[in-house]
Symmetry: C2
Subunit: 130 residues, 2 copies
Amino acid sequence: MLQRPDPFNAQCPTRRVLDRIGDKWAVLILILLEHETLRFNELRRRIQAISQKMLSQTLKSLERDGLIRREAFPTVPVTVEYSLTELGRTLAVTVDSLRIWAETHIGTVEAAQRRYDRGAEPDLAETASR
Amino acid sequence: MLQRPDPFNAQCPTRRVLDRIGDKWAVLILILLEHETLRFNELRRRIQAISQKMLSQTLKSLERDGLIRREAFPTVPVTVEYSLTELGRTLAVTVDSLRIWAETHIGTVEAAQRRYDRGAEPDLAETASR
DNA sequence: GAGTGGTAGTATCCATTAGATACTGGAAAA
DNA sequence: TTTTCCAGTATCTAATGGATACTACCACTC
């Protein structure tokens, strides 16, 4: 390893990986595939408001990164199954903790948003001096 | 709580929260602020290739969500410090595990990409039949 | 036997978004 | 005196995301 990973350097590969992970559709797909194998249109129905194009694109990227496996069965019409690879499984666990965080703290976040939108200081009227 | 959180429903608030979290700039900012308080231009220098506009926008969203705190000091020129709130700190820990995942598995991901780009099956030449 | 719906996508176009660039205004450094 | 820094905003353009239509084949309904 030539230099230690630095995701804040735009050229560093870990940055590219983080950018991929930090993608809303990728996150949702990983979470969904964590517990079951799903087909293209099943994924589409589950992830509301995703377009076919984005689903197709995101699946392709995830496959390229070795995170998911695509298997096509020569049925009529063709059947395509998507599942996590071992690598993908390790990431899915991590990513799922984001979902858990969101579900746990959604109330606090929404309260903060209301406070902010009501037009004032988020916590205290603090504009300290130096 | 009227219904259980479902991030796959486009209307569910947890989905909106996940979308916010699943944002590459937000992820990087949270990781950076986990261990220190930083000012606007310091953040900009650290996060390579972020534009002022996106930094400004992302900071505003994170502040609105109650994840970071913005403090302005009436110096000349004005000094603005950004730090995590308690809520933000809980998220930063989770998000940082993404960075750790990326740094740990970057080699495997890059190998998978090379294999994929070399034009063939990612793992085995498997096109099973049914 | 015509129409509808399902399979897994691709192609195209347009709206939204991200990014590049220039600008603010006052002070300090070169 | 020109440049630099602070923390942004404003504007314009390039890239991206999303809506829609289409493929080709088959099953099912009417």
